[in-house]
């Protein structure tokens, strides 16, 4: 397992995502507020580039006609058949107990800490002044 620097924090604005390649794997890095999450860019259903889909809310209806828009910006909807996944965990909405997109550990680290510890920064030069998004893989 290595820690890979994949972006500067400011490169990924809240509500957006960035797709990065780590060890040959495409990973979508999502920013929800100030939290960052990583999901494999590959849908467990038929392999579509999952992370390129729409970022949506979780819409629930306790009974017909009673709609609640919850957890805004926390679901990703597959660009092909529209299965929805929880950006925080990779769990699917349609079958949360058995269908899941792989999630990766994503952390935010100050450049100072990174300069000290071992990390891999293939395409993102690191300086002590900045803050970075780091994926463990």
């Amino acid at each position: 397992m290595n820690r890979h620097v994949v972006a500067k924090v400011e490169d990924i604005q809240p509500g957006t995502r960035k797709i990065v390649t780590v060890k040959g794997r495409e990973i979508g890095i999502f920013r929800v507020g100030d939290d960052f999450y990583g999901l494999i860019n590959r849908c467990p259903h038929q392999g579509a580039p999952l992370c390129r889909g729409e970022i949506v809310s979780r819409l629930v209806a306790p009974s017909p006609g009673d709609y609640r828009l919850t957890r805004p910006g926390e679901m990703i909807r597959c660009p092909w058949h529209c299965w929805e996944f929880d950006i925080r965990t990779g769990q699917s909405l349609c079958d949360p107990n058995s269908v899941q997109a792989r999630a990766f550990d994503v952390a935010v680290e100050p450049g100072r800490a990174l300069v000290e510890g071992p990390f891999v920064a293939e395409s993102v030069p690191v300086t002590v002044e900045e803050t970075y998004v780091v994926v463990t893989l």
Partner: protein, 370 residues
Amino acid sequence: MNVTVLDRKPDRGAQSHLGFIDCDVHPYVKGPNDFDPFLSKRWLEHKQTIGGRTRQGLAKTSMYPRMSPGVGMRMDSWPKTGGHPGSDLPMMQEQLLDLFDVAYGLLAPLVGGAGGERNVEFGAAMATAVNEWQLAHWCDPDPRLLGAIQVNVEHTEAAIAEIEKRAGDRRFAQVNIPPRGLEPLGRRRYWPILEACAANGFPVSLHLGGTGGHASTGGGWPSFYHEEHPSYVQTMQTLVTSLVCEGVFERIPNLKIVLVEGGFAWLPALCWRLDKHWKRLRAEVPHLKRSPSEYVHDHIWVTTQPIEEPERPQDMLSILEWIGPDRVMFSTDYPHWDQDDPRYAFKIPLPDDWKRKIYRDNARALYNLD
């Protein structure tokens, strides 16, 4: 148990998908004027100043966007050069034809509105224009793509003339009739057209969609797209039942029908029901010399997408066996949002000989391809 399904490898026979025949590929126009060069001045002016009249109840309502933002398309199929999914041949080659080394792609153009046009003379002109457009924009630039002859079945003479004009042109594989029409397709008024298809060696493809002007279910209009979706199956069932019960296959023994985009798992149950009632109601339909299921098996082919996903994946094998693996043909529906990927659509490995049939040989035989 929490199983992470990921990095699923294509099933072991993945290579056998290469070179498959895709029985449902949707080309789209680059712009609203693409058909104009193929219209006479008389109809071009009509198109520009009067326009189409569909059978849809509410003007300017659309059956789209259908879930996926935009127009119901796979989100990664929007060409970088602009334009609509399905409008860009290089992108279609990259995402489908070259990616899977597709041997043939059968075009299903859902553009031009020829089939549902109420002004049948204009509908016939648009049918011809869409046919020419398929050749110029798709079949000639990439000979893997085979056209589907468009007709307006409410204009019998023009439809027959169009079919006869294309007879022998190997760039066209079949005749395309929208399944939602004014009347069920087995009615006598449509026989001359169906006869012309058979006589000229063209299977008839019924690709779901179209606006018949009737509610899309026998019980009224659905509220949701989720509710609309199974209504396409009802439409297919209506056509199969109509073609069988009216005796069309007795009258036109070499007629071949392809059901496109209606799925297929429902077909065996329909046949069981028809067979059961045929035993009781034979006196009403004495023209049926054989059981409905025999007509279905001899005359009807199905394409796979949107493939059913049974709760127990291995049940798919029974369904295929009931229909007959010689009657099922793979289709993607590229670039629509609910398209199927040939590597992953079937959730269970198929026996190798079934796989060859479903991905290639059935279509090869039906359409007489090399």
